[in-house]
């Protein structure tokens, strides 16, 4: 390997899961064709879903899932202390993802619907992205996290360079694939303000972009709502669609 880009030693990496469906972890194991190559570059020292081992410190910690209970908060602080680089993996960890939808209803109501009068038995918090609690160094978006993006970030980190963060919307990748726009099929799609990096996989398979990767910086949400309502959604439906994966708001709204 080149003297200019070679890592000195194999980085020790670990995977942790919080409130999530664990689809991102699974997606990693779905790297079948690459798994062994990946393992050439790193030592996996902790990965509860696949192994018994535990470790004290990590060069790179990948975090899956949202923070949604007091014990999650404690655990993520602990991981942050042990990790040199912390990467949030997948929508739940990066934006709160679908979990944050529960934040839309008053948290007491949600708990009551779930646990009735025993709601206080199960401490719960609004679902939060990891970055709401600790510093996150890199983010891999998507529900599930996109494998190509994981590989880009992984390779960059192993090479000791910063991964490039995508900041353009899904439409760009959709156009690069010369897809017929779903709006031209009478459908609606959140591609125009959703962060790219998924290779426009949903529109390419005829399904609308659900916004799972989070919004582009400075997304013009009002213009997006106009587009959705111009294409047949009621304002309420349009707002709901926008919130599917993007319900998390900054903490002060939860007072």
């Amino acid at each position: 390997m080149s003297t200019q880009t070679a890592p000195k030693t194999k980085p020790q990496i670990a995977f942790f899961d919080f409130t999530s469906c664990e689809g991102c972890q699974l997606n990693k194991l779905n790297l079948e064709n690459h798994l062994l190559e990946i393992l050439e570059h790193v030592d996996i020292v902790e990965f509860r879903e696949a192994m018994d081992d535990k470790a004290d410190a990590y060069d790179i910690a990948f975090i899956e899932g949202s923070i949604s209970t007091p014990s999650c908060v404690e655990r993520i602080h602990d991981i942050r202390r042990r990790a040199k680089i912390l990467v949030a993996l997948g929508s739940c960890a990066v934006t709160g993802g679908i979990n944050a939808m529960k934040n839309l209803q008053p948290i007491e109501d949600v708990r009551e619907t779930v646990y009735g009068k025993d709601k206080y038995l199960f401490p719960t918090l609004p679902a939060m992205p990891v970055s709401a609690i600790v510093k996150v160094d890199y983010e891999i978006h998507g529900c599930p996290m996109s494998i190509p993006e994981f590989l880009v970030v992984f390779k960059a980190l192993v090479m000791g360079k910063q991964p490039i963060k995508p900041d353009s919307p899904v439409c760009v990748e959709c156009k690069l694939r010369e897809n017929e726009c779903l709006y031209d099929r009478g459908m609606v799609c959140l591609g125009p303000i959703t962060l790219s990096g998924c290779d426009a996989i949903c529109p390419s398979f005829g399904q609308f972009c659900t916004g799972c990767r989070g919004l582009v910086p400075d997304a013009n949400k009002n213009a997006m709502l106009d587009i959705l309502t111009d294409h047949g959604l009621s304002l309420q439906e349009a707002e709901k669609r926008l919130l599917l994966f993007n319900s998390y708001k900054q903490p002060d709204t939860f007072k």
Binding site: T19, M51, Y115, G206, Q207, K240
Partner: protein, 438 residues
């Protein structure tokens, strides 16, 4: 003999989701033997409220990344039932193909990556890479093949894209299916045969433990039921899916954020072993031969052999996928649009078999096509009581072994069920008995 034993496995590894095993024995009396479910609750039924039928399956697929397809299928079936949406034969065939792919994927992952390390005394699959490279490569190849079914038919294997109420947003090409068929025959079948050999060679290490219980699965007159059918209990026989609550009659226990279920006895089992016990005579010859080779016989009461039943199903899924593709090619693939024009509104129930067992979704829709009520009953939730009952019987039987071995055997027991814990944690509207999160 009076003995004290305290086991607390915090966040059991190599299972999906967060669970603890807690065993408490005081002077030979077993005070506690339970699998505590400490996964953070996710409130899915609440999230579904007010959502349109276009979004229901997108949301429920996120209940679980491992059984995403199963949740999607159950969700779509519930929505179609509620809204009166008919689907075509092509849609059903493509869905069945997807179910086969997902089952194959999940069973391979579980048997090779999560269970095999136990049988080989390794902490994970990673140390086995240098020593068992060919086996690992085979496992990866089988997983890839299974995932490719998902990628080609549904856009991606985790959180599938194309299945929507009424059909598919994208239809694979005949060329893609032919290529899949070729690989199923040239890679899939030989790999299954090799897998059977590998498991056979390890079968001696599978603990010998027997506890008869009630076995519940779907049953279909025409085929080994994975996609559809009636509910069938080994104790009480057939029940219509719409009466699923009679079967699952859920209840809440203190040590679990997931509710338990019981039917004719204190607990019942769902999953590969239940399907095997109930429907084995509908399996193809290759699968039956595989079972025989590995020593799996009908009416098997050893829960550890659930993993062997999973391997039998791998054989079935490969064979059945080939047959489905043949049928699809014979029909000729049509670029159908999904049928999304509701003919009614109201309550709908969808059920399907996922790798871990029978799964139910029930939705009620208002006249705008938005959900007013949702309920999802997940296999692992149904298995939890059975796991506790197994542990209660198992611990006294092995109490003389060193604690380390007891712990390991208990962990293996839980893993044998392939519990999908994050999946099992959904909200429920029932009373709690006591206790709080760990």
């Amino acid at each position: 003999m009076s003995k004290n034993l305290d086991i607390n496995v915090h966040h059991l590894t190599r299972v999906e989701g967060h669970g603890n095993i807690v065993i408490n024995m005081k002077e030979g009396r077993l005070e506690k033997a339970e699998l505590q479910i400490v996964e953070a609750p996710r409130y899915f039924e609440a999230l579904l409220k007010g959502r349109s039928f276009h979004e229901a399956a997108i949301i429920t697929s996120r209940i679980c990344g491992i059984c995403a397809l199963g949740h999607q299928i159950a969700s779509l079936k519930a929505t179609e039932d509620a809204l009166g949406l008919e689907v075509s034969e092509q849609t059903i065939l493509l869905r069945k193909l997807l179910v086969n792919g997902a089952t194959l994927q999940s069973n391979v992952l579980h048997v090779y990556f999560l269970v095999a390390p136990d049988l080989l005394n390794a902490p994970s699959v990673f140390p086995l890479i240098p020593t068992h490279k060919n086996v690992i490569l085979r496992a990866l190849r089988m997983k890839r093949l299974a995932n490719d079914i998902g990628d080609i038919v549904s856009g991606r294997a985790v959180h599938p894209i194309t299945p929507v109420p009424g059909g598919f947003t994208h239809i694979p090409t005949a060329g893609e299916l032919k290529e899949l068929r070729r690989r199923l025959i040239e890679e899939g079948l030989p790999d299954v045969v090799e897998t059977v050999k590998t498991i056979k060679s390890l079968a001696g290490r599978i603990p010998d433990f027997v506890r008869e219980t009630e076995y519940i699965s779907l049953q279909d007159k025409n085929e080994y039921a994975l996609y559809d059918g009636e509910i069938f209990s080994s104790d009480t026989g057939a029940t219509a899916v719409r009466n699923y609550r009679d079967i699952t009659s859920e209840f809440v226990v203190a040590h679990s954020t997931s509710k338990h279920a019981r039917h004719a006895r204190s607990s019942y089992m769902v999953g590969a072993l239940a399907r095997w016990n109930n429907n084995h005579n509908q399996l193809t010859e290759i699968s039956l031969n595989a079972a025989e080779e590995m020593g799996l016989k009908p009416d098997c009461y050893n829960p550890y052999l659930n993993n062997v039943a999973q391997v039998v199903e791998c054989a079935h899924c490969v064979e059945d996928s080939i047959a489905i593709i043949d049928r699809l090619l014979e029909l000729g693939l049509k670029n159908e649009k999904p049928n999304q024009t509701p003919t009614k509104y109201g309550v709908g129930i969808g059920s399907t078999e996922v790798p871990r067992g029978i799964l139910f979704h029930e939705y009620e829709y208002d006249r705008k096509g938005n959900i007013v009520f949702a309920n999802c009953i997940i296999p692992t939730g149904q298995n939890l009581a059975n796991i506790d009952d197994d542990m209660k019987k198992l611990v006294p039987e092995i109490i003389d072994k060193p604690k380390k071995d007891i712990t390991k055997q208990l962990e293996m027991l839980v893993r044998a069920y392939d519990p999908c814990i994050s999946c099992s944690v959904h909200l429920l509207n029932v009373k709690f008995i006591n206790d709080s999160e760990d």
